[in-house]
Amino acid sequence: MSNLLIPNPKEAESIHILREVAAQFEKPVLLFSGGKDSITLVRLAQKAFYPARIPFPLLHIDTGHNFPETIQFRDQLVAELGLELIVRNVQDSIDQGKVTEERGRYASRNTLQTTTLLDAIEEFKFDACIGGARRDEEKARAKERVFSVRDDFGQWDEKNQRPELFDMLNGKIHQGQNVRVFPISNWTELDVWEYIKTENIEIPSIYFAHKREVFFRDGLIWTANEHVYRENSEEVFEKMVRFRTVGDMTCTAAVLSEAETLDAVVAEIRDSTISERGARIDDKRSEAAMEKRKKVGYF
């Protein structure tokens, strides 16, 4: 028996938030992307409710453009922990004519996810969606609340947010509204990596350096793959790379890396001078890209 419980303040706060979700909402769901942040959330949820099971399902909005390693990892995690997994596909939203596939050089299904997500929220009547977004990721996210109320259209009204005082969370909502919950709001990228290391949490292999067919555009490293638009003039190379975030292949750039172990990755992040979202192609579209997407219901 270890003697003295001294809190890791960030972990304690996240567990508190997850328990508030379970207590204040009828149908919460954890939005699971297969990325390190949502995997960390799963571990925090395990801790929050142990020895009981996590009292809400996972929801994955699958663009169909995920890295296969991520999907494999997701299924394995769900099986091991006995979790309930719901998958909804962007392809279905396209087939139903609700959204139109983007064309051209920067085509991505990233923004299309919003429609599929909002439909899933309506289908299952979810009143709280737990996500792994962090305030340090991006400027617009720095002002996000822990409990962020969205209207029937999933919209975020940044000028009209409820103030959050001390650690008291107000999750009271009207019919049709839902709340996006961000339990790791106050974590940094390094916090997440150090936690994964301390807790010995498994993560998908694409976070570690591996050989991959890639091409270079706009100073970023893109995956060479059938889902990613590539000009004939854009030459393909095999490089040692890893990913710092795991989203769609079409919007997640790789970084050159030799870091094959967790220790090496953490050391690399610590010394890194490129911010994590610098490798997100979707944010490069404009300076206010994230804020615009958030207003229309993007995670």
């Binding site: 003295l4 972990e11 508030e20 207590a23 103030p163 001390f166 650690d167 107000n170 709001s185």
Partner: protein, 417 residues
């Protein structure tokens, strides 16, 4: 991660005091500004025709703000040094935004109050200190900024220090918890490096000062309060009879074997186990999210509170509190709300409004209502007793929010007397 200190800081200053520049400078000097962000700052600074780096661009987040050039809400910024993780709650200093500073300060242990060296102590400085005092912030740093614009003159610094000390006299704030530092955020003087241009200043730089603050000095020490947030009943083979009570421990330690009283039922029992995930502990320290089990089968639900039997809090249906109005809708006598005290909710009615408190320390006046950003004294009547301490004794057990029954918005924050 466990070995690193976490210090939460609220920053307060007027639009023109250079607060965003100070934060940008802290990020830059701790190498927390990444290459791509730095490039974006360089690009925009050039575009605007500046011959210096406009660090304020590192923090000004939303489009509306970029258009107006002011900060309009609480933003959270993260940086770290080898020893310490820092979180800054950047709160606007504009006169209309008392609400935001109260919000930012509610989660902070340190407040940095910025003063423009050319302007000295002004009305807003009063407000910022008033709020720091009201919220019992553990430590206040008075950063006298723009020293470059007053030729790094010691007399300017001393005059402001004296004026501020006169202000502290009017409060009940402990002067030992206040530190004065002359700085230039724009030029980086006394931020991370000791200024050679102000050899007369012998104190620590801002960053050194923040680093030497001990977490112990910044934590409130009080008695143990354990509000039950969630009841865990696994109903599985292995844990068939398990009934765990989860929540955050506040104020003081909790030990296995402690005699505890459950409120409101006043049932007594003993702590059988303390755990986090699959680890058991003998002693839990404040701030821990944990799960306890009790020796006896006791009926406990969310909102109940476990306390040591010889340290009972007050239990009353009538409370007197200072509140800050954080919503556009004014608070009036007779209004009904949901009062949330920690994780517990009861109905509340405003019995009377005693006064509106002037945030410039000039006293109180009678009022019919409290409007957005007003701070005042009220008496509330509750549908059921809550189990509380005064805010000065125990912050978490002495504070509450009021939730509007129609909009469900958080309309007030209260500090119990």
């Amino acid at each position: 991660m466990e070995s690193k200190k976490l210090i939460k800081i609220a920053t307060a200053g007027s639009v023109d005091d250079g607060k965003s520049t100070l934060i940008g400078r802290l990020l830059y000097d701790t190498k927390s500004l990444t290459t791509d962000k730095l490039e974006a700052i360089e690009k925009t600074s050039r575009k605007r025709g500046f011959d210096y780096l406009d660090f304020s661009l590192a923090t000004d987040g939303l489009v509306a703000e970029r258009e107006q050039g002011i900060t309009i809400d609480v933003a959270h910024i993260y940086f770290n040094t080898a020893k310490t993780n820092f979180v800054i709650a950047d709160t606007p200093g504009h006169v209309e935004y008392t609400r935001n500073m109260v919000t930012g300060a509610s989660t902070s242990q340190v407040a940095i109050i910025l003063i423009d060296a050319r302007k000295g102590v002004i009305e807003q400085t009063y407000r910022h200190f008033f709020i720091s005092n009201l919220l019992r912030i553990s430590h206040v740093v008075v950063a006298i900024n723009k020293m470059d614009l007053v030729d790094y003159d010691e007399d300017v610094y001393l005059k402001i220090k004296t004026d501020f000390e006169a202000l502290v006299e009017k409060s009940n704030f402990n002067t030992e918890q206040i530190t004065f530092i002359p700085i230039s955020a724009l030029k980086g003087e006394n931020i991370a490096k000791q200024s050679e241009l102000m050899p007369w200043f012998v104190g620590n730089t801002l960053l050194d000062h923040l680093e030497v603050l001990e977490t112990g000095d910044l934590q409130e020490s009080s008695v143990a309060r354990f509000p039950v947030q969630y009841v865990i009943r696994p109903k599985t083979e292995a844990f068939h009879d398990f009934r765990g009570f989860s929540g955050v421990l506040y104020g003081g330690n909790l030990n296995v074997g402690d005699e505890v009283t459950v409120l409101p039922s006043l049932t007594q029992s003993k702590i059988k186990s303390i755990s986090l995930f699959d680890q058991e502990y003998e002693v839990a320290t404040p701030g821990s999210s944990l799960t306890v089990t009790l020796e006896d089968e006791v009926n406990i639900s969310r909102g109940d509170m476990l306390v040591k039997s010889n340290e009972l809090p007050k239990s009353e249906k009538q409370i007197a509190a200072t509140i800050c109005q954080v919503n556009n809708k004014p608070l009036r006598v007779g209004d009904k709300f949901t009062l949330q005290h920690g994780v517990n909710r009861v109905l509340a009615k405003v019995d009377s409004i005693e006064s509106l408190i002037h945030t410039d320390f000039s006293g109180e006046e009678p009022t019919q209502q409290l409007k957005l950003n007003d701070i005042g004294k009220v008496n509330l009547r509750l549908s059921k007793p809550i189990h509380f301490d005064s805010y000065t004794e125990n912050k978490s057990n002495g504070s509450f929010i009021l939730i509007d029954e129609g909009s469900y918005d958080t309309v007030s924050v209260g500090f119990i007397e």
